[in-house]
């Protein structure tokens, strides 16, 4: 699958206004989203990798070959993403689960008042470095996502040849307009002063208010994305970027959506 992206930086003071504008534009209420993101880095030639990540049977033909090449040929940073809710923060980790389950589907494994690392669902998100030399002014990259087993993800990731680099929280709101997914988000960092060893993901989450934004003025990043199943279909890719340009025009007076710097999205591990 391919992903076409445009980005914009949104100053903190404009955030609320932009939320309103996007709600109006997309005719939907924002879906708030909180995600734990873990960054993993391949640390050895994954020639040793025997397990193919995720359900790659679903990906067919040329894409399958490319994906295999991606996964076995080079070394890449990948992300593991887990959805959380605000209720998970600052809660003590109780391994004993009470009977009452959160109604939220994605959080069905979590107790209402506690964060249970063992039941945290995860998703692997592989992103290639954006394609070079495309004439259109959108960021295009190969992508693949796959569900991962719940719970402690560091062990299986290590087994696949990935070491844990860092983790952070992404907080934001999602809108959908036709085929465009608009994600207005910012990065939150965990409080530093913790004796916990930083060689693995946290088992407990700190209180929400202890998280600090990476960008200390609290600015947001606006990301507009279209996912294209068949990236080799030029016609489809062209239509998708036309749609993105359409959105860029519509939002022109509010924010300036642009292509991202290719090297800043470089996922290759050197």
């Amino acid at each position: 699958m391919h992903e076409l992206l445009l980005f914009a930086s949104v100053p903190a003071h404009q955030h609320h206004e932009l939320l309103q504008q996007l709600a109006g534009l997309t005719a939907m209420q924002p879906r708030h989203r909180l995600e734990r993101r873990l960054v993993f880095k391949a640390y050895r030639k994954p020639g040793l990798v025997t397990t193919r990540v995720g359900a790659s049977q679903d990906v067919q033909g040329a894409d399958l070959q490319r994906l295999n090449k991606m996964l076995n040929g080079g070394m890449y940073y990948t992300q593991v993403v887990g959805p959380v809710t605000k209720a998970d923060f600052g809660a003590t980790s109780l391994s004993a689960m009470s009977a009452s389950h959160d109604a939220d589907v994605s959080m069905s494994g979590t107790d209402q008042s506690s964060y249970c690392y063992e039941n945290q669902p995860w998703k692997l998100e592989f992103r290639d470095i954006p394609e070079a030399g495309t004439r259109s002014a959108v960021t295009t990259r190969l992508m693949a996502s796959a569900s991962l087993p719940k719970g402690d993800i560091a062990v299986p990731m290590n087994a696949w040849g990935y070491s844990f680099v860092t983790e952070y929280m992404v907080e934001g709101d999602v809108f959908v307009q036709n085929d465009i997914v608009i994600f207005l988000h910012r990065v939150l960092l965990y409080p530093q002063a913790e004796s916990q060893d930083l060689h693995g993901p946290r088992r407990q989450l700190p209180a929400y208010h202890e998280l600090t934004p990476l960008e200390r003025t609290g600015s947001y990043v606006l990301q507009a994305a279209i996912t294209v199943q068949d990236g080799s279909n030029q016609e489809m890719m062209k239509t998708a970027s036309q749609h993105l340009f359409g959105l860029r025009e519509q939002l022109k007076s509010a924010v300036r959506l642009e292509q991202a710097d290719r090297l800043s999205l470089d996922t290759r591990a050197k």
Binding site: F7, A8, S9, P11, A12, H13, R37, V39, K41, Y77, R127, A132, G133, T134, R135, S136, A137, V165, T166, Y168, V170, V187, L214, E215, R216, T217, S219, V221, Q259, A260, D261, L263, S264, L265, D266, T267, A269
Partner: protein, 261 residues
Amino acid sequence: MSSLTPDQIKTLEQSRQRLVQLTHSLASLITSLNQSDPLPSWTSLQSQATIISNNLLTISDHLSDNRDLLATLVAYPSPSYPSRNPANTVALEQLLRTKLDPRVEDWVARGRKAAGAAGNGNGLDDLGALAELWDWAPVEANQEARRRNWGGNFTLEEREQGVGNVVTGLRRVLEDDDDDSESEEGESGEEEGEGEPDEMEIVGVRRKSGVGQGLEFDIAPVSATAASGPGHAGQQKVVAPVVPLDEILRFMTVGIMPSQR
């Protein structure tokens, strides 16, 4: 990968020419600083600085106008390129770099830092100063206005120097009379009728200026708060992002903290 259209080549050629101009003017400034003894006069330095800043402006305009094209261009050598020649190889290596030259990277870092400092400190200071100015200006303008005797076609200085000498640029003749100003201003003229024009006029003018002041004073605090309100709020709220988008994306991708680069 399609080849370039003539228009795009023209754009590239233009950027090259402008950069050449810039390097020329920079070089001439440097040589004039190095070679002339005593130093060149400040007027010539200033004119050279103006030229350079104009050059920079045109370049930055040009670059931002053609951002879409220039950001997506990729250089690659064609097989016919004479890469055997060592001089050519150097140029080739420069063209094919994906990262900036270390020296250039230092410059960029320094520039970013300076821009960040300016955006941070001075920008806020400027906002503060601006708010202060807005607080100060209505009151001060009002006081200044109160000192004047409003009405009439001519200023005091003009009257002292002789009304005939004033170039008004008008066809009709302006009279230095109070009737005129009164009838023009309507409101006071009608009310005061045709008593003693001089006295009445003066009273009218005074009252008028009084009214003006009253109005102004009613407005002034309001406008002052209005001006300062958003100003102060803006001071707290309008803060440009400190970390560039690229750095945020880089952190999200590979976990390198923005400051560590």
